[in-house]
Amino acid sequence: MGVTHGSAGDLKKGSYVVIDGEPCVVLSVAKSKPGKHGAAKVRVEARGLFDGTRRSKIFPADADVEIPIISKRSAQVLAVMGDTIQLMDLETYETFELPMSAVDEEERSKVESGAEVEYWEALGKKKVMKVKGPS
């Protein structure tokens, strides 16, 4: 799990980028032409994939940025234990636990034992993005 590298000038809405160590999805990008401030700049508005926090950042357009490698995987809910859920990856059969807060807010009510979910993993963090229903 890690990152690849790209140029800040290539970021656009929907791209992924690491800001302050957090994998984020880009919400909007605005570019400033070269001027009295120096070379072209890129202003990026993004939201943390895992923490939901909005982040604004200015990069020189030619700056190297980290792009998170996101692995989109399927798992099955083995058990719901209060605020914690236990999952099993459907490919590797690895089992792991996640707090309920790591399930997308709108999907949280659909979590039940036996349900199949799509979860994303990036920079060592996991989040359930979608609950597909009982498998």
């Binding site: 001027g35 009295k36 120096g38 070379a39 950042k57």
Partner: protein, 313 residues
């Protein structure tokens, strides 16, 4: 009482002779003569001299004169705004500012990436190269020191330049502090911000520098201010003298008038009401463009002080 005498040219007339002739010419030329005399007295009577100027003057060729005044030991403190810092560095890096005209097609200039400063032009490319230099420099300084005041930062920059006409270079070598309270008010502000974005613990301290500034001359008996233009630089110069009863000498050269109540237009007399220039101070305000007036004042003062052996020239 003094009376008006006619000014006539003589073959081989020197600047000193011309300025002496201004004494009895009247209007601003008489005020300019007084300014030149006050600068001489500041030094002769052992005052510490604060020189302030605005960014545009760093863009102009006055920058070389400022460096020279520091180099010969006429100036003890410099206060300016960040444009002058940027342009001092840019010139030291070999950038050229072009001579154009006041009546210009500014929309076309913008399309060509040229920025007009009066009748001068600075290209965006110069700013881009300055950014590359500033970014490298700030990385280098950050590795040595994560927190420093603005004047410490400017000294670090001056030590890394190789240009005798650079005021940062001369100031760093003579241990003359350069204060720039509005350090973010220009392209360098962006570069400092980007450095902070890369290193959240990188801190350039303005308030700490304010402390250094107000204490720097507080134990000195006599203080003189030469303020070219107005704004932040001029105000900080007289602020520097406030705790010790105000400046003993003051020369203002400005195109601003006092009628809007602005700091830039405030006269030396108005500053007396603030306690920032002493009631019995030796002071004058000359109205006009510093690129013409100040070289005359400086050339006169340098000539007289050199004859008296009071400067290293």
């Amino acid at each position: 009482m003094e009376y008006v005498r006619d000014l006539v040219w003589r073959p081989g007339m020197t600047v000193k002779e011309l300025v002496e002739g201004f004494a009895a010419t009247g209007f601003q030329s008489t005020e300019l003569y007084k300014a030149a005399q006050i600068v001489v007295r500041m030094k002769r009577e052992g005052a510490k001299v604060i020189l302030t100027f605005t960014s545009n003057m760093g863009t102009s060729g006055l920058r070389g004169l400022f460096a020279q005044l520091i180099g010969v030991g006429l100036v003890d403190v410099v206060i300016t705004t960040v444009g002058a810092i940027e342009e001092d560095v840019m010139k030291a890096l070999g950038e050229r500012f072009y001579i154009h005209r006041f009546q210009a097609d500014d929309v076309e200039l913008h399309e060509r990436g040229m920025n007009r400063v009066g009748n001068l032009l600075i290209s965006n490319d110069s700013y881009a190269r300055f950014e590359a230099f500033a970014t490298r420099l700030l990385e280098e300084i950050y590795r040595e020191k994560k927190r420093l005041t603005v004047s410490e930062l400017l000294r670090e920059i001056g030590l890394r330049l190789e240009d005798e006409n650079s005021f940062l270079y001369q100031a760093a070598r003579r241990d003359v502090p350069v204060f720039c309270p509005a350090i973010t008010d220009g392209s360098f502000g962006f570069h400092l911000f980007m450095a902070r974005e890369r290193h959240p613990d990188f801190d350039v301290d303005v308030v700490g520098d304010f402390g250094r500034m107000i204490l720097y001359l507080s134990q000195e008996d006599r203080k003189g201010v030469i303020a070219l233009g107005g704004g932040v630089s001029k105000h900080h110069a007289i602020l520097m003298t406030l705790l010790s009863g105000g400046a003993d000498y003051a020369v203002y050269i400005t195109t601003s008038t006092q009628f809007s109540g602005s700091m830039s237009g405030a006269t030396t007399s108005e500053a007396k009401s603030w306690g920032k220039i002493k009631d019995d101070s030796d002071s004058v305000t000359v109205i006009g463009d510093a690129t013409i007036l100040f070289p005359l004042v400086a050339a006169y003062a340098l000539e007289v002080l050199r004859e008296e052996g009071l400067i290293e020239a």
